[in-house]
């Protein structure tokens, strides 16, 4: 169904511009990515600066001095929300890059070679997916002596590759008996070239969709683990860790919990809209939502 030639990308882009969900997602993600990237320029205060003496400003409500208010130590929430975005977004994207690479490799190898190799790899995938993800993540974190962001990174990679592996394998299975693959193999093209030149490019659409959704779940998982105290530790600032503080002061200073959560919600919403949009645009089987 994929038509090649110069027309295809241009048509895709035209469709993309007409897809409201995709556009909304793209705008939200770009907005928060930019805001996080430019945090050092945009943040009005040092996110870790604790004002003391007559400057002390604990749990100030949002106002002219502090647009989003301050936390219990008097630190500026806007600055903290901006800097925390860097942590959550880099985890979301960084984890997915590694996980997608691993999952892609596993899926290609399992789907292409089949046999016992496929059996072993898919049983491994099934096993990881047989656990509710956050619960296995908590169990994996427990293996380490101390929690920390770098452990969250490793743990989320250990969980994330499985979805990608399944998606890529399914795609390879549907492609590998097509004529173009058979022809390539018949004329003696080596397996590695068949995989990389012929099968991989045809997996990219579903791969991109799955990886985008994956970025969203990574961010939610990081926030959840940090909220539970099993992720980012001070002085690292993450939306999840800020929310844990926010819960403590929910009655006295609700803004401490409201703003990091809104930032997380809007970013995840953006990523999900982007993923849904990509699926509509790249996969003709899904055209409804």
């Amino acid at each position: 169904m994929i038509r090649r030639g110069a027309e295809a990308p241009r048509r895709r882009w035209r469709q993309a511009r007409a897809h409201r969900g995709f556009l909304a997602g793209l705008s939200l993600v770009s907005l928060f990515a930019l805001a996080s990237a430019l945090a050092p320029l945009l943040a009005p205060y040092d996110p870790r600066w604790v004002p003391t003496g007559d400057q002390a400003a604990t749990l100030l409500a949002p106002g002219s001095q502090h647009a989003l208010g301050t936390d219990v130590l008097g630190r500026d929430l806007l600055s903290r929300v901006l800097y925390a975005g860097r942590v959550t977004l880099s985890i979301g994207i960084g984890v997915e890059l590694v996980a997608a690479a691993i999952g892609c490799l596993v899926g290609l190898v399992a789907g292409y070679f089949g046999g016992w190799l496929d059996g072993v790899l898919m049983r491994a995938t099934d096993t990881v997916m047989a656990f509710p993800s956050l619960v296995l993540a908590i169990g994996l974190i427990a293996v380490f002596e101390e929690p920390g962001l770098e452990k969250v990174f490793l743990v989320l990679i250990a969980l994330g590759w499985t979805t990608i592996a399944r998606v890529v394998r399914a795609e390879v299975l549907s492609q590998k008996n097509r004529e173009y693959v058979q022809a390539a193999r018949a004329v003696g093209v080596p397996d590695s070239i068949v995989i990389l030149r012929h099968l991989l490019p045809n997996c990219l659409g579903p791969l991109l969709v799955a990886a985008t959704i994956g970025v969203g779940s990574n961010m939610v998982a990081e926030a959840g683990l940090s909220f539970l105290g099993l992720g980012a530790q001070p002085p690292t600032i993450s939306w999840g860790a800020m929310l844990a503080e926010g819960q403590t002061f929910l009655t006295a200073a609700p803004w401490v919990a409201i703003f990091p959560g809104l930032a997380l919600l809007l970013t995840v919403l953006g990523v999900n809209l982007l993923g849904d949009g990509l699926r509509d645009l790249l996969d003709p089987r899904f055209r409804k939502w």
């Binding site: 491994a124 096993t127 047989a130 959840g224 929910l250 959560g261």
Partner: protein
């Protein structure tokens, strides 16, 4: 007929075996890696060497790992999940204490997501393309993207702190008031998925011939949807309830932490903090087994709803 059922159920049970084996193997390996020397880890650095030796012998910790795995599996089969040195109680006992609150919460949350999700989905499907439809679809996407623990805090902020209608947190005596906010929170994530699935599935079904026929007979739109379309739309909805199980189990540790709910999830989180590894691994194992068995139930539900799944060897 009966043998058809038998073989269909048998096939699914058979497929379960490697998954259960994989789960136990993974938890066992995690446990082994986490503990290093389990006896010393369990008893602490200043433990009496004689006691350490006894524990080692009792749990065969000086034997090769495969032997240890087999012995561990034997204990599992007897329902022995080990002993929490932190709490001085068997892990099974601790889990049994914490299970009922989690089950209450999970059932209530499922009810919330099915009732709210299916009504929203049906409402949207009845008037596709209208403002109501768009609003409901938007709300569904929003619900899916909202982090559970943040939603829990916001609900608590509005309904407990500001309005004072419901308790902020805690289990109470298991009364309904304490259950409402946690159930709404835990159910919300999944409500969006159920709504989306119900809507698209209904829209798919209403285009089919027999629904058109029902309409041609002069049945009202709601009768068509309710009596004819909904039953067939149920098949994907069962899938979604199956997926919902994952949402429930993932959301449990977070929701229970927000609302100080004395369930398994909060126990798991607390145990990680206390480095009470037998409890951590026991809980992880229980969560996984519940998840796998839940999915089995969903598969079996298919057999009942959709006769096509009973025949044929394919999955």
């Amino acid at each position: 007929m009966l043998s058809e059922w038998g073989s269909a159920i048998g096939r699914r049970l058979l497929a379960l075996a490697p998954v259960l084996l994989g789960i136990t193997l993974l938890v066992f390996v995690l446990n082994a890696v986490a503990l290093g020397d389990p006896a010393r880890a369990a008893l602490g650095q200043r433990a009496d060497p004689e006691v350490v030796r006894q524990i080692r012998e009792q749990y065969a910790l000086d034997r090769p790992l495969p032997v240890q795995y087999v012995m561990w599996m034997r204990r599992l089969a007897r329902g022995d999940l080990g002993h929490s040195y932190h709490q001085q109680r068997p892990v099974t006992e601790i889990i049994a204490d914490r299970l009922p609150p989690t089950v209450h919460l999970a059932l209530a949350a499922t009810l919330v997501s099915i009732v709210l999700g299916m009504s929203a989905g049906a409402l949207a499907a009845a008037r596709p393309g209208t403002a109501l439809d768009h609003a409901l679809v938007g709300a569904a996407v929003l619900g899916i993207s909202t982090p559970v623990f943040w939603l829990g805090m916001m609900l608590s902020l509005v309904f407990a702190v500001s309005l004072g209608w419901l308790p902020v947190s805690g289990y109470g005596d298991g009364d309904l008031g304490h259950l409402v906010l946690p159930a709404l929170t835990l159910g919300a994530l999944h409500t969006g998925t159920v709504a989306r699935m119900t809507r698209s599935s209904l829209l798919e079904v209403v285009r089919l011939d027999y629904v058109q026929a029902a309409r041609a007979k002069g049945l009202g739109e709601w009768a068509v949807l309710g009596k004819h379309a909904l039953r067939n739309a149920l098949i994907p909805v069962v899938t979604v309830i199956g997926i919902g199980l994952a949402d429930l189990l993932v959301g449990a540790p977070l929701t229970e932490t927000v609302f100080a709910w004395p369930g398994l999830g909060r126990m798991l989180v607390a145990a990680v903090g206390q480095r009470d590894l037998p409890v951590v691994m026991g809980a992880v194992l229980i969560f996984a087994v519940v998840y796998v068995l839940g999915n089995l139930l969903v598969d079996l539900a298919y057999l009942v709803i959709d006769p096509r799944t009973r025949a044929g060897a394919a999955e």
